[in-house]
C-alpha cells in the first residue's frame, strides 16, 4: 500500500490550506470566500457520492441545502430549539425527506431522474417562498447566531474555522465510504447495474443509502451557510440556480473523485468574484468558461491535471 494514497494527500492538503489561509490572507473578504468554498465543498462532496460514484443525477439538491438552512433559521426563532440542535434537526428532516422521496424516484434513470429531482428542488423553494409566516417569505429571514460554550459565534473568523473543520471531517468520511463495501457497490452500480445486481448488490438499497447520505451532507452545508451568513432567502439557499451551481461544481471538478469536488467548488465560487472585472460581460464569460471546461476537460479539472502530471495514459 503506497503511503501517499489520494486520500491521505487530499486530507493533508486540505488541512494545510485551512490552517494557512488566515495567516497568508488577512482580510475578512478572503476568509468569507474561503468559508463559502468550504460550505459548498461539503455539499459538493455529498452530491459527488451520489452522482460521481453511484451515477444518479440530481438537479434539485439545493432543496436539501434549503431544508438545512431554514431548519437553523426556523427552529430557534419559532420552536425555541437552539442553533446546534437545529443543525441536527435539519439533517434529520433532510434524511427523512430523502428517504420518503428516494424510494419512488430512484427507480428512474438519467433525464427522468433529473426532472424528478428538479421538481423536488422547485417544491422546496416554493414552500420556503410561500410559507411566509414561518420563513419570512421571499425576502428571507435572519438566523440567530448560536451560543457555543457561552460565546456567541458571530465573526467571519470563527465561522471560517468551523466550516474548515467540518469540511475536513466530511472529506474523511467521504473517503471512508468510498473505500468501504458501500463505495465499491456504488461504483459497480455506476459501471454496470446489471452486473452489480447479479453479483449480489441490492441496487435499490445502495442508491437509497447514498441519496440519504448526500442529502445529509447538503443539509449540513445549508445549516453552516445560514449560520455564517446570518440571513437567508429561499433563492439563495434552495433556488434552481443553486442546484445548477452544485451540479457544475461536481461535474467541473471531476466525477467520482472526492478531492476534485472541492476544487470544482473553488472554481465555481471564485469565478463570479474574478469575473466582476468584465461587468456587462460577466454572464457571457461565465457561460463560455463552463463550456470550455467541459470540452477541454471532459473527465473534469482534477483528473485531467492528474493525467497530465502523471503522463500515464488511462
Amino acid at each position: 500500500m503506497k503511503f501517499l494514497t489520494p486520500r491521505i494527500l487530499t486530507v493533508a492538503l486540505l488541512v494545510i490550506v485551512v490552517a494557512l489561509t488566515p495567516v497568508v490572507l488577512q482580510s475578512n473578504y478572503y476568509l468569507r470566500v474561503m468559508t463559502l468554498i468550504y460550505v459548498f465543498g461539503l455539499a459538493a462532496i455529498g452530491l459527488n457520492l451520489l452522482m460521481g460514484f453511484a451515477g444518479q443525477v440530481s438537479l434539485g439538491h439545493a432543496g436539501f441545502v434549503g431544508i438545512g438552512a431554514y431548519a437553523v433559521g426556523i427552529a430557534p426563532t419559532h420552536l425555541g430549539i437552539p442553533g446546534l440542535y437545529a443543525i441536527v434537526l435539519g439533517a434529520g428532516v433532510s434524511a427523512a425527506v430523502a428517504a420518503i422521496i428516494g424510494k419512488p424516484i430512484l427507480k428512474l434513470r438519467g433525464h427522468y431522474l433529473a426532472v424528478a429531482t428538479l421538481g423536488f428542488g422547485f417544491l422546496v423553494a416554493l414552500l420556503l417562498t410561500n410559507e411566509a409566516s414561518w420563513t419570512g417569505g421571499p425576502d428571507g429571514m435572519s438566523v440567530p447566531r448560536p451560543v457555543i460554550f457561552g460565546t456567541r459565534i458571530r465573526t467571519v473568523e470563527q465561522w471560517y474555522w468551523i466550516t474548515g473543520g467540518v469540511l475536513i471531517l466530511g472529506t474523511i468520511i467521504a473517503y471512508n465510504i468510498a473505500s468501504s463495501s458501500t463505495g465499491r457497490a456504488l461504483r459497480a452500480i455506476h459501471d454496470s447495474e446489471i452486473a452489480a445486481h447479479t453479483v449480489g448488490v441490492d441496487i435499490a438499497k445502495q442508491k437509497f443509502k447514498v441519496f440519504v447520505i448526500s442529502a445529509v451532507y447538503a443539509s449540513l452545508a445549508g445549516s453552516l451557510l445560514a449560520l455564517s451568513n446570518g440571513h437567508i432567502t429561499p433563492d439563495s439557499t434552495a433556488g434552481f440556480l443553486r442546484s445548477v451551481e452544485l451540479l457544475t461544481m461536481v461535474v467541473l471538478g471531476g466525477l467520482g473523485s472526492i478531492a476534485s469536488s472541492i476544487l470544482g467548488t473553488a472554481v465555481v465560487v471564485l469565478l463570479p468574484q474574478v469575473l466582476t472585472v468584465f461587468h456587462e460581460y460577466e454572464h457571457l464569460v461565465l457561460g463560455l468558461v463552463m463550456m470550455l471546461c467541459i470540452i477541454l476537460m471532459p473527465a473534469g479539472v482534477v483528473p485531467t491535471i492528474l493525467r497530465r502530471i502523471k503522463g500515464r495514459a488511462t
Binding site: 434513470r109 454572464h283 463550456m291
Partner: protein, 291 residues
Amino acid sequence: MLSDLVQYAASGVTVGAIYALIALGFTLIYNSTHVANFAQGDFAMLGAMTTVFVAAAGVPVVAAGILGILAAACAGLLLYRAAISFAKNSSVLGLIVLTIGAAIFLKGVAQIVFDKRFHSLPAWFGTEPIKVLDATIQPQSFVVLAGAAVIVFALVVFTKKTLIGKGILAISQNQLAATLVGINVTTIVTLAFVISAAIGGTAGILATPITLTSYDAGTLLSLKGFAAAMLGGMGSPMGAVIGGLVLGLVEAFGGGLISSAYKDAFAFLAILVVLALRPQGLVGSFVRERV
C-alpha cells in the same frame, strides 16, 4: 361556475401550448444525441428578441420573424459545431452542464446585443378576445396551438418518412452502426440541432405576444419545456405536445381550484406521480435493457 372551469381550461391550454412548443424543440436534439438541451428556452428568447429588435429597426414584422428564426437556427448550429461536437466523450452530466453553460452564454450575449427590458410582439389576430361560454381566450393562444400542431405533424412526417429523419433515428439507436452504413453523422446531427433551434425560435416568436420576453426569459422556458418533454416521454413529438398541455392544465386547474401560490408545485407533483407510475413518461416506449 362552469364559465370559471372553461376559463381555467383556456388558461391551461394557452400556457400548455407554449410549453408544448418549447418541448418540441427538445425532441430532435434528444433523439440524435441523447442530450437534454437546457439552452432550448434561450433559442426561443433569441428568436423573439431578434424579431423585436429587427422589427423596431423598421423591418416588417414577418421578415423580422424569419430573421429571428434564422438567428435561433444559427445559435443551434454553433451550439453543436462549436461545443457539443467537441464534447463527444463527456458524460450525460457533462453535457447537461455544457448546455446550461450555453444557456448562460446566450443570456450574456442577449444582455449586451439587445437590452435588459421587457418586450412584446404584436398578436397575429389582434387582442380582441374570443368568447366561449363567457370565458375569454386570446386569439394568439390559437396561433400557438396551430403552430404546435403544424410542427408536430411536420416532425412526425420528417422522422418517419424522410431519409434524414430516419438517419436521426438510426444515429440515436447506434451511432457506430449508422456511420458504418454511410450516414454522415455530423451533417445529420447538425441538421437536427438547426431544426430544433429553428423550432425553438418559432416557439419564442409565437409565444411572445402572450408571455412577453426579455434577455433572461430563456431559463424558465427551458425548465418548463424540459419538464413537459419528460412528462410526455422524451424524444416523441406527440409526447412533447401531450406533456405540455397536461402540464399547462394541471397548473391552471391546480392554481385556480387550490392555490395560485403553489401553481408550479402542482405541475411538478403531477410529474413525480406520472414518472412513479410510468417511468418512461405518458407516451414514451419502455426500453428494456438488453443484456
